[in-house]
Symmetry: C2
């Protein structure tokens, strides 16, 4: 439990912070991959061409904005998309960003 | 006609460019004000606390991303939200960003 990093409550989600997280294409890809998988994905299993330290930074930005929840399973850090909470705070936003039309652009 | 600046076609709209335009709070406010008005607004009539040159830059970024269309009426530069074209390219995106829930955050 001590290794679980802090996460914001839904009441703390801010549109500016969420958009700053989602404007980065690597971070948006992490969100899109989690949404498509419909399941948790461990940090090392994402399709992304960045260094491990850069990836760690991107996960931290997403976590602090409220987009993902992180927890450990053994030595693997697992990532969960906080879809329902995001939908509550920003109805339609993740739907719009993960739509086939948006993905094609 | 010669004073009308260039505008991208819908086929040229890109998600990355649109999000980079919308991540800025002043630019997002311009879009929100146009959406709320449901009518064209001239550059000088927006509620925003930035210099004229900064405002001009923000309008240019929005125009080049495809979010607004600009045209002259006499000496006034008028701004039109390209709502239908944005909705075609990115269904639900402007709805999500202009929703009361998102606005409250």
């Amino acid at each position: 439990m001590g290794r679980t990093p802090p996460h914001p409550e839904v009441s703390q989600f801010g549109l500016q912070q969420v958009l700053e997280a989602l404007v980065d294409p690597v971070r948006r890809s992490i969100v899109t991959q989690l949404d498509a998988a419909g399941a948790d994905i461990k940090c090392g299993a994402f399709d992304m061409a960045v260094s491990k330290s850069t990836a760690t930074h991107h996960f931290k930005v997403l976590r602090e904005a409220g987009l993902i929840r992180q927890h450990y399973v053994g030595t693997s850090r697992m990532n969960t998309l906080r879809r329902a909470e995001m939908d509550e705070a920003f109805p339609g936003l993740l739907d719009a960003l993960t739509s086939p039309q948006a993905q094609a652009r």
